[in-house]
C-alpha cells in the first residue's frame, strides 16, 4: 500500500469515527429515551419468558432460560449510560424516567449494578431449581429501582 493510500485510508477511518461521534452527539433526547425504552422492553420480554418457564407454562428449556438471563445481564450493564444528564422529563418527551434518577445518580447506578449482579447469578444457575430460586431476586431488583425512579404504571 502506498503512502498516499495509507494516508487516505487513515483519513477515511478518522472520518468514519468522527461521523460516528457526530451521530452519537446528535442523537437527541427522544432517541435516547426510545433506545432505553427498547432495552427495558427487551428485559420485560426476557422476564416473561423466564416466568413462563418458572411457572411450567412452557416445558423446561435451560438454554432459553440462560439466554433470557444473558439478555437481562447485557442490558443491565448499559443502564447507567442510557440515562445521561438532561435526558429526563425536562426534554418534554414522553418518558417515565423520574428526575430523582439524576438527583441520586449514584444510587440509581448502584441499583443497575444490583441487577447486573443478580442477573449474572441467574446466568450461572444451571438447572430448573436454581433458576427458580434466583429469578425472584432478579425481579426484586427490577421493582426496587422502578419504585423510586419510574413514574409509569402498567
Amino acid at each position: 500500500m502506498s503512502k498516499g493510500l495509507r494516508l487516505g485510508a487513515a483519513a477515511a477511518g478518522v472520518a468514519v469515527l468522527l461521523g460516528v461521534a457526530v451521530i452519537a452527539e446528535a442523537q437527541n433526547a427522544p432517541a435516547q429515551i426510545n433506545q432505553r425504552q427498547e432495552v427495558m422492553k427487551a428485559n420485560g420480554a426476557a422476564a416473561k419468558t423466564l416466568t413462563q418457564l418458572v411457572r411450567g407454562e412452557q416445558p423446561w428449556n435451560q438454554q432459553a432460560a440462560h439466554q433470557a438471563a444473558t439478555t437481562i445481564n447485557t442490558n443491565a450493564k448499559q443502564i447507567p449510560s442510557l440515562f445521561p444528564q438532561g435526558s429526563g422529563p425536562e426534554t418534554g418527551a414522553k418518558t417515565a424516567a423520574l428526575p430523582a434518577i439524576w438527583q441520586n445518580k449514584a444510587d440509581f447506578d448502584a441499583k443497575a449494578k444490583a441487577l447486573d449482579e443478580e442477573s449474572a447469578k441467574l446466568m450461572a444457575a444451571n438447572d430448573e431449581a436454581a433458576v427458580k430460586a434466583q429469578f425472584g431476586n432478579v425481579g426484586k431488583t427490577c421493582g426496587g429501582c422502578h419504585e423510586s425512579y419510574r413514574a409509569k404504571n402498567p
Partner: protein, 312 residues
C-alpha cells in the same frame, strides 16, 4: 399533627361547637389516659399483620431519608397540596403516646384526632372505618409496641381553603359513610374476606378510584382507575374488564403481582404500587391473597381506559 393556619383556632372552636350541635352525643370521649398495661404478644403479632395489610408504614415511615419507624415525614402530593404523614410512634409529645385505645379507634372510624379535630381524608379513615373492633384493637397493640421517637410531625403544606378543618366536616357529610364492614350474605366467606381486605385494610379504592374536584370518591367507579392518583400519576383500572381492567389476568398473574410486583408482560410495577407490594401485599397470607383475587373477580367489570398522561 394538625396544620392550623390563621383560621386555625377559630376553625377548631367552630368545629367543636358545630360537631356538638350536629352530631350530638357522637364523639364523647369515654376513654381515660393511655393504658399502663403492656399489650399481649399475640395481639402485637396480629396487629402487625393488620399494620402490614393496611400499609401504614408507606406514609408514616420516611424510608427515603432513613427516618425511624413510624416517625412520620413522608410527603404525599395531592391536588390539594402536600401532606406529610405524622409521627405515630408512642412518643407522648410528638407521637400518639398520649392517645387511648378509644382515641385510636375513633381516628380510624370517624377521622378525628385525640382532641376531636377532623383529620384530613388523606388518612384513609374513609376505608379504615370498616375495620373490625378486633383488628383495630390489635393494630393499637402493635402501634404501642414500636419504639417511641421524638421527631416532631411536619406541618402539611396545603393552601386555602383546603386547610380549613371545619370544611372537613362538610366534606365528611358529602363523601364519608362511617360504619363497619358489612359482609354480603349472598357471597362466599372467601369473597367477603377479600372485600374486607380490599375495602377496609388495604384501602385499595383510595388510589384506584376516580375522585371529583373536591376529592370525593366516585363510588360508581370503585376500583375502575384514577387519572389523578398520588404524585399526579394515573392508577390503573383493576375491575375485571378484559380490555381496560384485569379481566385477562390469570390467578397466577395476580399472585405474582401481589408477591413479586410482576405484571403479565414481564414488567415490574413502580412508584406507589411497588411500595404497596413490598410493605403489604407480599406479606399477606396465601389464603388472604386468594380471597382478594376472588373478591376482585366478583366485581362488575367497568370499562374505563386509564392512560398515563404525558410526562410533565
Amino acid at each position: 399533627m394538625p396544620t392550623r393556619g390563621r383560621f386555625g383556632e377559630w376553625t377548631r372552636t367552630a368545629a367543636v361547637c358545630a360537631a356538638a350541635v350536629l352530631f350530638c352525643a357522637v364523639g364523647l370521649r369515654a376513654a381515660g389516659p393511655a393504658q399502663a398495661q403492656a399489650p399481649a404478644a399475640d395481639a402485637i403479632a396480629r396487629g402487625q399483620y393488620i399494620f402490614d395489610a393496611a400499609g401504614c408504614t408507606s406514609c408514616h415511615t420516611d424510608e427515603k431519608n432513613k427516618g425511624q419507624l413510624l416517625a412520620g415525614g413522608v410527603p404525599l402530593k395531592t391536588p390539594f397540596g402536600t401532606f406529610y404523614g405524622p409521627n405515630i410512634t408512642p412518643d407522648p409529645t410528638h407521637g400518639i403516646g398520649g392517645w387511648s385505645e378509644a382515641d385510636v379507634i375513633r381516628a380510624l372510624r370517624d377521622g378525628k384526632d385525640d382532641d376531636g379535630d377532623h383529620l384530613f381524608p388523606v388518612f384513609p379513615y374513609t376505608s379504615f372505618t370498616k375495620m373490625t373492633d378486633a383488628d383495630a384493637k390489635d393494630l393499637w397493640a402493635y402501634l404501642r409496641s414500636v419504639p417511641p421517637t421524638a421527631t416532631p410531625s411536619k406541618p402539611h403544606d396545603i393552601g386555602f381553603p383546603f386547610n380549613i378543618r371545619l370544611a372537613q366536616m362538610f366534606w365528611k357529610r358529602l363523601f364519608f359513610t362511617p360504619g363497619r364492614f358489612q359482609p354480603d350474605p349472598a357471597k362466599s366467606a372467601e369473597v367477603n374476606r377479600g372485600a374486607y381486605i380490599v375495602q377496609a385494610l388495604g384501602h385499595c379504592g383510595e388510589c384506584h378510584t376516580q375522585r371529583n374536584l373536591l376529592g370525593g370518591m366516585d363510588t360508581k367507579l370503585f376500583l375502575a382507575g384514577n387519572t389523578r392518583g398520588p404524585d399526579g400519576h394515573a392508577v390503573p383500572n383493576i375491575t375485571p374488564d378484559p380490555d381496560t381492567g384485569i379481566g385477562k389476568w390469570s390467578d397466577r398473574d395476580l399472585v405474582d403481582l401481589f408477591k413479586e410486583g410482576m405484571t403479565p408482560d414481564g414488567d415490574f410495577v413502580g412508584g406507589a404500587m411497588a411500595e404497596v407490594v413490598r410493605h403489604s401485599t407480599s406479606k399477606l397470607t396465601d389464603s388472604d391473597i386468594h380471597a382478594v383475587i376472588a373478591y376482585v373477580r366478583s366485581l362488575s367489570p367497568v370499562r374505563n381506559r386509564i392512560e398515563e398522561k404525558k410526562a410533565q
